[in-house]
């Protein structure tokens, strides 16, 4: 994006190690009127979250270095970031089960494959809930 950042648009941090998926969601989010920042692993996601304080974070759960579960737990444990809604993305249908032991305070779960427009609808829903 070459345009100067428009701070009136919500900033979405997209965290996914799979480049094609990350860039696809990023492109569609920008197409849908969001500002986008990207991270490729859990550690980078934490750095960017603390630095940018995005309005919402799209977090793939299987990530290198620090996985999505752990990253989300740390974000929710930190005063600066705990109010930021996290939409968890998972391609592992089996991991997305109640009682799988991972009590993570994600605000929403989205199972991949997830079409870009479905994801954007979810993001809008989470943001609307936060504003209220």
């Amino acid at each position: 994006m070459t345009n100067a950042p428009d701070t009136s648009k919500p900033l979405v941090l997209v965290v996914d190690d799979y480049q094609d998926a990350r860039e696809m969601y990023a492109e569609y989010l920008e197409f849908s009127g969001f500002r986008v920042a990207e991270a490729t692993n859990g550690a980078e996601a934490l750095d960017k979250a603390f630095a940018l304080l995005p309005d919402v974070i799209l977090m793939d759960l299987s990530l290198p270095i620090i996985d999505g579960w752990e990253a989300t737990r740390r974000l929710k444990a930190d005063e600066r970031t705990k109010h930021i809604p996290v939409v968890a993305l998972t391609g592992h249908a089996l991991a997305n089960e109640p009682g799988s032991g991972q009590q993570v305070q994600c605000d929403s779960f989205v199972v991949k494959p997830c079409l870009p427009d479905t994801l954007v609808a979810e993001v809008k829903k989470v943001l609307a809930a936060r504003v209220r």
Binding site: Y18, A21, M24, E27, A93, L115, P116
Partner: protein, 563 residues
């Protein structure tokens, strides 16, 4: 008795007068002494002449044979009777035999007492020169002796009677002993046989005409018995002895194992008087014991076999258990593999479907109609692939037990409305009349809402797919008898031949499974429906015929319970 030595009045001995001639004073004195002597003898003594006339009588004789003047009538008669009896006896004894001394019994009466007296008359002829011949008669009182003899005869009779009784008693005892089947032997303290009953006799005595072998066998039996008895015969021997005797049947030589029980019979003084031995044939008992042993050994053999079989079974079970475990592990590994694989499928598919969708939305600008049509084909094939992957994943999850039941209470009316709403875009593209009806008696359902919905969605989507015209009816009913709710989807579609009713529930199966089949779908839908229904304790049934439409029905318990 009157005063003794009263002289006999009438007779006077001429002999005594003749004696007195030599010295009259000395003769008188001697005669007086003699009379005193004769009177002192308590037995009557008389001297008679040859005719039986009494010449001299001593005091006791006078009592019996002389009556005084003042004697009573009875006394007088008794004396007369005595005199007659004596006279008769004297005469008859004088005329008999050659022996000079005569003995004879004489029954007299005591004139004073009136009692019977028994005497023995002993007559001795007297032939002394110078004296007249006569008889010296001595009467010996044998009354007591007679009584004793009588008593003796009586006791002899009694003895005979009791002997008779003892004999019949013995006979009875013999009969009893012989009637006992077990041999009984009575021996004296030194071992000599006193008595044995018939069964014992058959063992120990062979008849003389029975031949050499039986006699030898009987002899052997006797020897065995004697050696058995020796336990009791020893001075310090036991009072009782029990043991085994190996006898043989004398006639046949068949072995006769006997149990012998011998006991001493003691007198009142504790002296051994006899030994009674009872034998009991143990052949039958031994046979029984042998049979019992056979049964027992057969039983233990059987038990051993059962043990072996059980052990083998346990081993088999263990093998099966291990195999089951391996299978389970293999199955879990397969499920994990499929889950991983579906993840690996979905990651690229996510990008394919995402970019296709973005292109179709014109994110990168408008496309020519041909480009759009081709992209739509990519899109629909991608979606089909995704559906297949999702359904495989569903089956994998069900089979891996990783699709738990989430129970809640819900109304079927709401659920059917939701299903209709979700399918509305598809329904709208058909010309079908789709209705939904829930019978008023259908209660609020307690179960896994998501799974019920998934099944109904699947059944409805099938109905829409295979029905070209007419209607599709959703209806729910309740069966009070089985407490089961049934949700039916009835269509007027192409129908299914009865022989294919089962096939449609199998994995990857449609009635037409050819690669060029007309109808889309993965062929997994009904197989998933059936699995989900089973998880909830229910089932899916079908009623259909070619060109008659189909009715698929889900039956689930009104209240589901976690199994």
């Amino acid at each position: 008795m009157p005063s003794s030595t009263a002289p006999l009045k009438p007779p006077t001995a001429p002999g005594s007068e003749a004696r007195a001639e030599s010295s009259p004073a000395a003769a008188d004195q001697e005669r007086g002494l003699l009379r005193q002597l004769v009177d002192a003898v308590t037995d009557p003594i008389l001297f008679t002449n040859l005719e039986g006339r009494v010449l001299i009588a001593n005091a006791r004789a006078r009592q019996l044979f002389v009556a005084d003047e003042g004697a009573s009538e009875g006394h007088r008669r008794a004396v007369e009777l005595n005199q007659r009896v004596f006279h008769t006896a004297l005469l008859s004894s004088a005329t008999g035999g050659a022996s000079p001394v005569r003995r004879r019994d004489l029954s007299l009466v005591d004139p004073v007492e009136g009692t019977d007296l028994l005497f023995e008359l002993v007559c001795t002829p007297a032939k002394e020169p110078g004296n007249p011949p006569g008889h010296v008669c001595v009467l010996r009182n044998v009354t007591a002796l007679g009584r004793a003899t009588q008593a003796l005869g009586e006791s002899y009779r009694r003895l005979r009677a009791s002997e008779q009784e003892a004999r019949s008693e013995r006979l009875r005892l013999d009969l009893i002993l012989d009637s006992v089947a077990d041999p009984i032997i009575v021996t004296d303290p030194s071992g000599g046989t006193v008595l044995m009953n018939d069964p014992a006799e058959r063992l120990f005595y062979a008849p003389p005409d029975s031949g050499e072998a039986p006699r030898r066998r009987a002899h052997t039996n006797n020897a065995n018995f004697a050696s058995f008895l020796s336990h009791l015969l020893a001075p310090s021997g036991a009072r009782r002895w029990r043991g085994e005797l190996h006898l043989v049947e004398p006639a046949t030589g068949a072995p006769l194992p006997m149990e012998a029980m011998a006991s001493q019979v003691l007198s009142d003084q504790g002296e051994p008087t006899s030994i009674v031995t009872l034998l009991h044939d143990r052949t039958e008992a031994l046979e029984k014991a042998r049979l019992l042993e056979q049964v027992r050994s057969a039983s233990s053999e059987l038990e051993a076999k059962v043990h072996a079989a059980t052990a083998e079974l346990a081993e088999q079970n263990e093998k099966l258990r291990r195999q089951a475990l391996q299978l389970e592990q293999a199955s879990a590994a397969k499920s994990q593999f499929l889950a991983n694989m579906s993840h690996e499928f979905r990651t690229p598919l996510n990008a394919i479907l995402g970019y296709t969708s973005m292109l179709l939305q014109g994110v990168n600008g408008e496309m020519t109609p041909q480009q759009r049509r081709n992209l739509q084909r990519i899109d629909s094939n991608g979606r089909h692939l995704l559906q297949v992957i999702n359904e495989i994943l569903d089956i994998t999850r069900i089979e891996a037990g990783r699709m738990p039941l989430n129970l809640s209470s819900f109304l079927l009316q709401d659920l059917l409305q939701e299903v209709m709403a979700e399918m509305d875009p598809i329904i709208a593209r058909t010309k079908l009349t789709v209705t939904s009806h829930v019978a008023p008696e259908v209660p609020e359902l307690h179960g896994d809402r998501q799974k019920v919905k998934q099944i109904v969605l699947n059944l409805l989507s099938n109905a829409l797919k295979f029905t070209h015209e007419g209607s599709v009816q959703l209806s729910a009913a309740y069966d009070f008898g089985t407490s089961t709710v049934s949700i039916s989807v009835k269509d007027t579609g192409i129908g299914i031949a009865p022989e294919h009713h089962e096939k449609v529930f199998e994995d990857f199966q449609q009635v037409d499974s050819s690669p060029t089949r007309v109808y889309g779908g993965t062929g997994l839908g009904l197989s998933i429906c059936r699995r989900l229904a089973a998880m909830m304790g229910g089932r899916v049934t079908v009623q259909s015929a070619i060109d008659q439409g189909s009715t698929f029905t889900l039956h689930v318990p009104w209240r589901m319970r976690r199994s």
